[in-house]
């Protein structure tokens, strides 16, 4: 795909949000779409960090939670507009991400997943314990961004945020940092040897993706209006990872495909109850990983590749 096609895809999302909002959809369907935008931002940015920069951090939903609770905090305590949170919060979570990047520089192999996992766990415990501020498991409330029950503003916002995510991702992947990130992922020691500034690349990768996770969190807080520590549970992180992996880790549209597959599944199996939803999704994720190791996009790509080759082969034989 050419560069302009990638930007066209971003534009399609921006326009779709407006279109869906003006046509109007059932509230349940609108909720599904709006929360899917939240998951796309999360799974997409985690895919950038893990799939493209090779940094397997499990603090990602923790960062989204930091962004969501941070939004509630500044809205409640300082009366800051929820809109302003979209600007402030990504800066805040990017700073936390930068610190995680510094940690990532000091650890090897499985240590990073473990440490980031512990970070998220500790944060969840803190949110539950500091119940006089966070409301603990009862939840922390904040006023809605747009008063009333009309979902159209959130649908429009969803489209814009998804479009913004793809624009940022395009800028990263098509720029210098995109290539440098991938070199660190593929062969860190060779990258260092040829002069890549590993320090800078890791810190930038963590900051950019943490900023996006924070943006997702700010959106979530502004939309849902009540936050509980369950938003950074282990199963939430597992869900985000599953989305990226099912679609294709390290593929530009991997998270998008994963979000569509998993969110649709969730929608159709929701009648069985929440606990079964997770079991079914885990089973599907396992099947995809077993049969298409590099995710759905790569599997479809190979199928197409093969049919093109077969056609060429056939026409070569015929002539």
């Amino acid at each position: 795909m050419t560069k302009s096609m990638h930007y066209a895809i971003a534009a399609i999302f921006a326009v779709s949000g407006v279109a869906i909002a003006s046509i109007g959809v059932k509230p349940i369907f609108a909720d599904l779409l709006i929360l899917s935008a939240y998951y796309l931002l999360l799974a997409g940015s985690w895919n950038l960090l893990a799939g493209f920069a090779g940094q397997y951090s499990f603090a990602h939903v923790g960062l989204a939670a930091a962004g969501a609770y941070g939004t509630a905090a500044i809205v409640n305590a300082f009366g800051v507009s929820g809109w302003l949170a979209f600007l402030i919060i990504p800066v805040f979570t990017a700073a936390i991400g930068g610190l995680l990047g510094l940690v990532a520089l000091r650890v090897r192999g499985v240590q990073l997943p473990l440490i980031t996992f512990a970070f998220a766990g500790a944060f969840a415990v803190f949110l539950a314990a500091a119940s006089d501020i966070t409301g603990g498991s009862m939840g922390m409330q904040l006023p809605k961004l747009v008063a009333g029950f009309d979902r159209s503003p959130y649908l429009i916002l969803s489209g814009l945020l998804v479009a913004a995510f793809f624009v940022i991702q395009n800028l990263v992947l098509d720029g210098r940092i995109g290539l440098l990130m991938q070199s660190v992922r593929d062969e860190e020691e060779v990258a260092r040897g040829i002069g890549v500034d590993i320090f800078r690349i890791k810190v930038y990768a963590f900051m950019i993706t943490a900023g996006l996770a924070g943006l997702a969190g700010a959106f979530y807080a502004n939309y849902v209006g009540v936050l509980a520590p369950s938003m950074l549970s282990m199963s939430e992180m597992g869900m985000v990872v599953a989305m990226a992996v099912i679609g294709g880790l390290g593929h530009r549209y991997g998270a998008l495909v994963g979000v569509i597959v998993i969110r649709s599944l969730e929608h159709f199996v929701r009648g069985f109850g929440a606990e079964y939803t997770l079991v079914i999704i885990t089973a599907v994720a396992l099947l995809v990983v077993l049969f298409f190791r590099e995710g759905i996009i790569a599997a479809v790509g190979k199928r197409l590749d093969r049919s093109v080759q077969q056609r060429r082969w056939a026409s070569a034989k015929a002539s």
């Binding site: 290539l179 991938q182 992922r185 593929d186 060779v190 990258a191 040897g193 040829i194 500034d197």
Partner: protein
């Protein structure tokens, strides 16, 4: 008198108690090509790793293009005049052939578009144009070595260190490599080339340095080295 582009003095590197480079002095002038030969495990690659900054020496100094670079990381600006290739190709598996070569431009502050344009030219020059958009992991070992070699064309360095560039490469491409190296050498680049293909590298170099067990065993012209029985013994040791 030609300018000295690289000077190493008293270089030492040990891993645990194992001294892999044990007191090496080395000097390279502009436009000079030195063949670095010696048995497997002699420390040839380790010597390049010290010069390129990938290893930190335990003792000794390295002066590159007039600047003391001892202990500096490979990313240091003072190391820009240096290029090195890798024994196993040093490619990034998921990146395409073009992107792999463009990396060499990026770390020299080239913008991505310029780097990729020049990388594509470099690829065509070594005969890999048709696989420009293939990920390196789908290429053969010889093709990956060729990608690594083509990076040299983007770097245009003062000093180039090549680690067994011809291993696994066919004779036609070896000839392409020979002509590119000769051209850059004559334009003033100083080369250290490790190779087990003695006829090929002796045809390019002015001087041969024989490394054995981390020490310089002997050095001389290709003719002198060919006649030296100690060299044969070192290879068989």
């Amino acid at each position: 008198m030609k300018a000295i582009v690289l000077e190493a003095a008293g270089l030492q590197k040990a891993f645990g108690g194992n001294r892999v480079i044990d007191g090496v002095d080395f000097r390279l002038t502009a436009g000079e090509l030195v063949a670095l030969v010696g048995p497997n495990g002699a420390g040839k690659t380790s010597f390049l790793n010290l010069i390129s900054g990938q290893f930190r020496p335990n003792a000794g100094t390295i002066v590159l293009d007039g600047h003391d670079v001892t202990g500096l990381e490979p990313k240091a600006a003072k190391r820009r005049p240096l290029f090195r290739s890798y024994q196993n190709g040093g490619t990034f598996g998921k990146l395409t052939a073009v992107e792999n070569i463009a990396m060499t431009g990026l770390v020299r502050d080239m913008d991505r578009k310029t780097a990729e344009t020049r990388a594509a030219e470099a690829l065509r020059r070594v005969g890999l144009g048709p696989v420009a958009d293939w990920p390196a992991e789908r290429l053969s070992g010889g093709q990956r070595k060729l990608i690594d070699f083509a990076r040299l064309l983007l770097a245009r360095p003062a000093v180039a260190l090549l680690d067994e560039p011809t291993a696994g490469v066919n004779p036609v491409i070896m000839e392409v490599m020979r002509s590119i190296i000769a051209e850059m050498r004559d334009a003033g680049t100083g080369f250290i080339v490790i190779s087990h293909d003695l006829p090929w590298v002796f045809g390019l170099c002015q001087r041969v340095v024989v490394l054995a067990a981390g020490k310089v065993l002997t050095m001389g012209t290709p003719d002198e080295i060919s006649a030296d029985s100690r060299v044969r013994e070192a290879y068989l040791a």
